[in-house]
Symmetry: C2
Subunit: 279 residues, 2 copies
């Protein structure tokens, strides 16, 4: 299974600490060795770093760790290939433009027989994931010539996500640089860091940070990841089939199916393995 | 004025030597200090590195110089902002998808009152250059639902380029990972390196390379740049208003207006300055 990492903040923030631990999972503390990618929004601009080397050894990952890019929205992905060969065009996150904005998307899961027709977008590679992004944006564009108001947008993205998840496992993150949309089929966890800030310690490496030293009292930062990245903070879990939208570091819209089901890490990984997943 | 660098080869080749000299022009040997970008095609995949720091000091440029990415098509750009503020969304090259392929584009020049309508693509930033890419791809897409044969494609791109250049200075490079299309309003030079290979020495730095040691006898590499990058090789100049298409390291299609006019470097730079250019 692949792993996802996202960040959504109310002020431009660097993701170096979280990425430090996350990138270790690409070949050192875990087996996600088929490349990685990370995209940073900076205002309307998007900077996307891709590499088909494992993130634990990649010079591109090394750059990202040493160059604190401040961003309000970040999506990163480390890949264990299940569909599509390991090549740059199949490396997440994927990027397209809609309504004069860049959209960034990463997925872990496995969509079966998902071969939609497109009007505006086409896949370059051959993953189910890139087809999912194309389908999402195509559907939005066919409904709205211009970007609708936030509430309409949330509901529209949710409706398309519900369609796509009928085809299989669909843990995903999508951002236009403003909102970060998530859907959880098995495992996604998140934490909202805000004042009073404390110290955090990575799971994957013996590194700690005191957020008091690098934040201001009004900062609010949501970090979303397949599995928690720190071992001394309380991460929240998103429920199976939950759709949640983050904005300015907090959840502004969510739909949690009732009764809410929270898989254990073992259950989540077992489901992924059973469907021959996943990226 | 900004500067452009392109490479088109018949075998994946690293551009480290050329980029070494080119990137010096971003802040050291020249004044192109408003950011830089470089995009590498690897099969169908595209890796685009952007930075709004000057290339001479950018950690991203440092990575590119130390990480020999092998590519058959590369486009790079160093920027001296004339239109649009210096921000990531205005940093060349620009990227979009058409017909299931990524397209990469960089421009130096200045298009006046160029505000076309788009059906399929929209600008994210506010440069004339990004609008030119959107217009190019929009026009291609409106004419062809699928990618046409090469001769039809060359002629179609050329026709759109002729339309755009009516609006002003349009030195540009465009690639889909297969072809590298160029248009010259003032200055573009190129060199085709093939066996027997020799030694090359940079203009901007005292660095030389013996291409015999890093090539095979069948390699053919075209390097295209605003100004020659080496001082001991013979660069060819593209004529004013010439349209040329490179494929596998050679020009496969060109239209040279007659009589062909070749500007001196001084004349080219003077024209750029006179129109308040340029990127």
């Amino acid at each position: 299974m692949c792993q996802l990492l996202g960040m959504n903040c109310n002020t431009p923030t660097d993701i170096v600490f979280s990425f430090e631990g996350f990138s270790k999972r690409g070949g050192l503390t875990d087996h996600h060795t088929d490349g990685f990618g990370i995209g940073f929004f900076e205002n309307k601009g998007l900077r996307l770093f891709l590499d088909n080397h494992p993130s634990a050894q990649s010079p591109v990952a090394e750059l990202v760790k040493n160059y604190p890019i401040k961003s309000e929205n970040v999506i990163a992905h480390i890949r264990k290939a299940s569909q599509g060969h390991t090549s740059l065009e199949n490396t997440h996150p994927f990027q397209r433009e809609l309504w004069g904005e860049y959209w960034l998307f990463a997925h872990n899961g496995h969509l079966q027989n998902f071969q939609p027709n497109f009007k505006y977008y086409q896949s370059v590679g051959n993953t189910d994931s890139e087809r999912a992004l194309c389908y999402l944006l195509d559907s939005l564009r066919q409904q709205f010539a211009h970007k609708p108001d936030p509430a309409t947008l949330y509901a529209a993205v949710q409706a398309i996500v519900l369609e796509i998840r009928e085809f299989g496992l669909f843990n995903m993150m999508l951002s236009n640089g403003d909102y970060l949309f998530t859907h959880t089929s098995t495992l996604l966890h998140y934490i909202v860091r805000q004042a009073p800030f404390g110290e955090a310690h990575l799971v994957d490496e013996d590194i700690a940070i005191d957020f008091n030293e690098v934040t201001t009292p009004n900062d609010r930062v949501a970090v979303i990841a397949t599995l928690p990245l720190t071992d001394n903070e309380t991460w929240q879990q998103l429920a199976q089939n939950e759709f949640a939208v983050f904005h300015h570091g907090e959840i502004v819209y969510r739909h949690t199916p009732q009764p809410a089901v929270y898989l254990s890490v073992e259950e989540g990984l077992a489901i992924a393995r059973a469907v021959g997943t996943a990226c």
